[in-house]
């Protein structure tokens, strides 16, 4: 099972890098979806089956479909891609890349100096996740619910328009 973990991990890293470097937005999103699926496989191999299923359903299946939906309607290409090439001159990205490289070095140093942690292979049942969500982490679940409610009300407010009738007889109503 460990070999599956490493293969999925490599796929996740490679596809995330591809997602960042693609100039075509839809291709980048496809790589991002592959990266989410690889992360789900990693979770599954580690025994967190429920989290793996949710990763596929929520991230790869719902949120990314919405992203693709929006990108699809924007019809990016041609002029915007040329403009993007003009923005991405080395002068712009070399500073952040250097700082990110320093952070990466620190992170790898910290990880390498940790005592060796073996991947735990205990299987977590969906029931266990549910019980801990509704006892130990109840407050978090409720805060998330309230935030979602606020989001729904906000979306309703933005999308609400008074119904207008275009018909010549019903115009006054």
């Amino acid at each position: 099972m460990l070999i599956a973990f490493y293969i999925a991990g490599v796929i996740a890293v490679v596809s995330t890098i591809m997602a960042v470097t693609r100039s075509n937005a839809v291709h980048a999103l496809l790589y991002l979806i592959v990266s989410f699926l690889a992360a789900a496989v990693v979770l599954f191999v580690l025994g967190a089956h429920f989290a793996a299923a949710l990763e596929v359903i929520v991230y790869a299946g719902a949120i990314m479909v919405l992203f693709v939906f929006v990108i699809m309607m924007l019809n990016i290409g041609g002029e915007t891609e040329k403009a993007k090439e003009r923005w991405l001159v080395p002068k712009r990205w070399i500073g952040p890349a250097l700082m990110a490289a320093i952070l990466f070095a620190i992170l790898s140093y910290a990880i390498l100096n940790q005592p060796v942690a073996t991947a735990s292979l205990s299987i977590v049942e969906p029931k266990t996740v549910g019980i801990s969500l509704y006892t130990q982490y109840l407050l978090g679940v409720e805060i998330a619910a309230v935030m979602l409610m606020a989001g729904i009300i906000g979306a309703f407010h933005l999308g609400y328009t008074k119904r207008k009738s275009k018909h010549r007889f019903l115009k006054g109503e």
Binding site: V26, H49, V65, M72, P126
Partner: protein
């Protein structure tokens, strides 16, 4: 060693059976539709016209398979395979007989939700990569339809999960030894059936490809076997929804002992397929906004109410 071989045999059997039933559905649908519409239907090729499917497959394989110059080539070729893979893989969790199942996952139902939501990409990417306005409109409709109906599909099955206490399909079938879940969960059954039809964009809800408005919707630019994969994918979807309904609500392989369990499962699956075909013969296509409004304003509150009542009854007993 022998265990590995039985395993491989079961997997091969499931793949073969699913594909055969999906292809056979085309024939069954045409004959049943013609029966309900007072016509004869295809009856020339082979006994009762049963070889019509073979003739159609030969025809579709030898057709010109053309990728338009303006299409995004890679994604255009990739997207018909997605619908086939995501539908075929879910057959792995359906228990065929006591002890015979490809994968008894403890997240069985969630596995199905995951792959059915990934199936939306097939349609969306096909529409986008075709670079055609009708295809794009079809893809947009398909994406919003599938995204909305996934929500109630998940909620409608939670009643079954609560009564079983597990996501595992094997446990769900075992729990129906005495009463099928269609009796206590009738509302859940109805919502699941409607949502399942919308998920597989099957005829009363085939709005993404409604040919009277959008030429052929998301697969306007497809020809040859790439179109064939969308076509078979739709019939695979029908087979999958029928098999899941039979397993989740009609007791799966449970039945009187004079027939083997697999026969009971097949009878129920074919009964559901015939019912879905009857729906095609009987119902007109709703308008796009009617479909979404019906989903969010009627099915969502209904499935939440069903969840609440089921939970209250389970808690009080």
């Amino acid at each position: 060693m022998s265990e590995t071989w039985t395993y491989i045999l079961v997997i091969a059997g499931v793949i073969l059976a699913a594909l055969t039933i999906a292809a056979g559905n085309i024939f069954i649908e045409r004959r049943l539709l013609s029966l309900w519409q007072d016509r004869l239907g295809p009856n020339r090729v082979g006994p009762f016209g049963i070889l019509q499917v073979v003739a159609d497959v030969v025809k579709i394989f030898t057709k010109e398979d053309w990728v338009p110059r303006f299409a995004d080539r890679g994604i255009f070729i990739l997207s018909p395979t997605i619908v086939m893979i995501t539908t075929m893989i879910v057959f792995a969790i359906i228990p065929l007989s006591p002890g015979i199942v490809v994968a008894d996952l403890n997240i069985g139902l969630l596995f199905f939700f995951g792959f059915s939501s990934l199936g939306a990409y097939s349609l969306v990417l096909a529409g986008w990569s075709s670079n055609n306005k009708y295809a794009l409109l079809g893809a947009m409709r398909g994406a919003s339809q599938m995204l909305s109906y996934e929500v109630f599909m998940g909620l409608s099955l939670m009643g079954v999960v609560m009564m079983t206490g597990s996501f595992s399909m094997v446990d769900i079938v075992e729990a129906q030894k005495n009463t099928w879940f269609i009796v206590p969960q009738f509302v859940g059954f109805l919502i699941f059936l409607i949502a399942g039809l919308a998920e597989s964009h099957r005829i009363p809800f085939d709005i993404p490809e409604s040919e009277s408005e959008l030429v052929a919707g998301f697969h306007s630019e497809y020809s040859g076997m790439k179109f064939g994969m969308f076509f078979v994918g739709e019939y695979l979807g029908i087979t999958l929804i029928s098999a899941l309904t039979a397993t989740l609500f009609l007791g799966g392989w449970n039945g009187p002992a004079f027939l083997p369990p697999i026969a009971w499962l097949l009878i129920k699956v074919f009964g559901m397929i015939a019912f879905i075909i009857l729906l095609r013969a009987a119902l007109p296509r709703p308008r796009y906004d009617q479909l979404l409004g019906f989903g969010w304003k009627i099915l969502l509150p209904l499935s939440l109410l069903n969840l609440l009542i089921t939970g209250a009854i389970i808690l009080s007993t």
